[in-house]
């Protein structure tokens, strides 16, 4: 408009101004992208956190009170508690450049052990719970030794363990479900994580609290202890870590054992959530945990990401799950969107890693 107003006007100066503006815009924008890349590199949980906040806000706007209420928001926490806990275990393993396909199976076997030891053999439930943890830890130990000492690929080891643990679960449990009412009457401590604290509309089950505490503790361990630094180093470059003086085998084995113990905890929380002990539960937990971890910005190539990210990843899936259901969409849309998020997250991971190039 201004150029037509003064046809004799100095195009030159206008052009000069224009180019200066462009140049000015161009440079900060480039460095802005770079600094975003760098920020994400240092804080890989940032993107999932942003997606989480945006999706909560988005669904809140569309659905109003039905979604944006203390009750509904804490409900999402309850719904993701199990996957969140298992995803924490998965995070540890994936940080070491591994993957654990057996997490869901270990969780279910541990819950079955806790239930059956109480009801079949009459153990005090507290002892049965310890046995469940022991079995979870043992499963992890086997995987860990096979990965660290025998040097088999984690994918193969845990693929095998998945089948073995799941089959043991079905053989041992004889496909029997222990009903919620029986547990409540005879061994209520098995349902401990189903108890809840309420304030206002918010409901926090002990399972949710356990998940949050677990993530906090793991976050601390990973960032502020030598063990945590070693976990990252092993995943980043195991050979380099070994040469730098990290006891790689011990670190790997410890990761799988801790992973197994966390899965056992998830098994206990599972009993609290579904009330009963069911050997057919948790069939998709391994995939769901990997989904949460990937969406949470943890690199499948090891050494990068934070356990907070996995929690955010699990929550994103939970938010989309509840939000889309409240909107009345076909459940397939949830899976479709989660698929998009997974691919987006991995693409982003690749981009972030390029900061080093």
């Amino acid at each position: 408009m201004s150029s037509t107003d003064n046809p004799t006007g100095n195009f030159e100066s206008a052009a000069a101004n224009g180019s200066a503006e462009v140049a000015q815009f161009d440079e900060p924008s480039r460095s802005f992208v770079k600094s975003v890349q760098y920020a994400l590199h240092v804080h890989p949980a940032l993107i999932p956190l942003i997606i989480l906040v945006l999706s909560v806000a988005g669904f809140g706007l569309v659905l109003g009170q039905r979604f944006f209420s203390p009750f509904a928001l804490t409900l999402i926490l309850q719904q993701v508690a199990i996957v969140g806990i298992v995803a924490a275990a998965q995070t540890l393993v994936i940080l070491t450049k591994g993957i654990d396909l057996s997490v869901g199976a270990i969780m279910v076997l541990s819950s079955v052990i806790m239930g059956q030891f109480t009801f079949r053999y009459g153990f005090p439930p507290e002892i049965a719970i310890l046995c469940g943890f022991a079995v979870g830890g043992l499963c992890g130990l086997i995987s860990g030794v096979l990965v660290a000492v025998v040097k088999l690929p984690p994918f193969i080891v845990t693929l095998g363990m998945w089948q073995i643990v799941l089959a043991s679960n079905f053989l041992y449990s004889r496909n029997e479900t222990i009903r919620a009412q029986d547990i409540e009457a005879n061994a209520p401590i098995l349902q401990f994580f189903g108890e809840s604290i309420r304030f206002g509309g918010a409901v926090l089950t002990y399972g949710v609290i356990a998940m949050v505490l677990l993530v906090a503790v793991l976050s601390y361990l990973l960032n502020n202890t030598a063990w945590g630094r070693h976990v990252y180093a092993v995943g980043d470059d195991a050979e380099a870590a070994e040469l730098a003086g990290v006891r790689v085998k011990r670190t790997l084995i410890s990761v799988y054992v801790v992973g197994g113990l966390i899965c056992a905890l998830a098994g206990w929380v599972l009993i609290g959530r579904i009330g009963s002990v069911s050997p057919t539960a948790g069939q998709f937990t391994n995939i769901e945990s990997i989904t949460a971890v990937v969406i949470g910005g943890i690199s499948l190539f090891g050494g990068r990401g934070s356990v907070m990210g996995a929690l955010f990843g699990a929550l994103i899936v939970g938010v989309f799950g509840l939000g889309l259901r409240l909107m009345g969409t076909d459940p397939q849309w949830t899976y479709l969107l989660i698929g998009v998020l997974i691919i987006g997250a991995v693409a982003l991971d690749q981009w972030i890693r390029r900061v080093s190039a």
Binding site: H41, T225, A226, W227, R229, D236, D237, L243, G245, V355
Partner: protein, 259 residues
């Protein structure tokens, strides 16, 4: 003959199946010197270095550290004995920070309950030491000690690895091909770092293919061929082409210097 060496190996033998990688190899490192180890590919240099740095156990022979027989079961054992090695791949974790890398495997914990019961790391102390070590080596172009190693240039990474070795190596520093992946300017910097180590009194073992670099900074040159040391020469007495000829078998090793 009765000279006391900092690090010495006698008659090392290492076989891989039918391949003899070390064939009664000897090795001597004097106090305060830069000893270069050169040899053709497959001559057994890396096997020798791995034996000295604990990454591999020789089948026969003995290793003496300041006159005492030692057996290193792991790199960590050699390291605890004061032998630091900078491997060709640097053994750094790219995603971790400079400070994390410098203290990998020997982190400092917080004093008191936090460290004992909660195993909390003393990040402040570690950052401080790392910063000091890097500036000692003139590497403080790096501003942020918590910066991931992968954001550094090749020379800077080498610098971090050397700084780590210098920080903890109380007796010997071994450098495997420290300039192989670097440009001219960065190589210069690393060579200065090595000279700096010698100036501090630390003996250095330098494995390199780069003859100009070797001849520039080495006090003596250990020539490895067919699994054993065939010559030990002074760079002032021999030319680069002599060294290469001995190394490749085109020239007979000078007898007088061999012992």
């Amino acid at each position: 003959m009765s000279e006391k060496f900092v690090l010495q190996a006698k008659g090392l033998v290492k076989r891989f199946g039918r391949v003899v990688a070390l064939d009664h190899a000897d090795f001597e490192l004097r106090a305060g010197e830069i000893l270069a180890v050169i040899g053709d590919n497959g001559a057994g240099k890396s096997t020798l270095i791995k034996s000295l740095s604990g990454a591999m156990a020789p089948d026969e022979g003995e290793i003496l550290l300041e006159g005492e027989k030692v057996h290193f079961s792991s790199p960590m054992a050699a390291r605890n004995a004061g032998i630091e090695t900078v491997y060709q791949n640097l053994a750094l974790s790219p995603a971790l920070s400079i400070a994390d890398n410098m203290f990998m495997g020997r982190e400092i914990r917080r004093p008191g309950l936090l460290g004992k019961a909660f195993r909390m790391l003393d990040k402040k102390a570690m950052d401080g030491v790392a910063r000091r070590k890097l500036s000692e080596l003139g590497l403080m172009t790096i501003q942020n000690i918590r910066q991931p190693v992968e954001t550094l240039s090749g020379g800077q990474r080498q610098g971090v690895a050397v700084a780590r070795a210098a920080a903890f190596g109380s007796r010997v520093v071994i450098l495997d091909e420290p300039t192989a992946a670097l440009g001219v300017k960065e190589s210069r910097k690393v060579l200065d770092l090595i000279l700096g180590l010698r100036a501090k009194g630390l003996p250095v073992v330098l494995i390199s293919h780069n003859m100009p670099h070797v001849f520039e900074i080495a006090d003596r040159i250990h020539i490895h061929r067919l699994g054993r040391r065939i010559a030990l020469i002074n760079p002032k007495d021999h030319s680069m082409s002599d060294a290469v000829a001995i190394m490749t078998g085109a020239m007979a090793p000078p007898q007088s210097q061999a012992a």
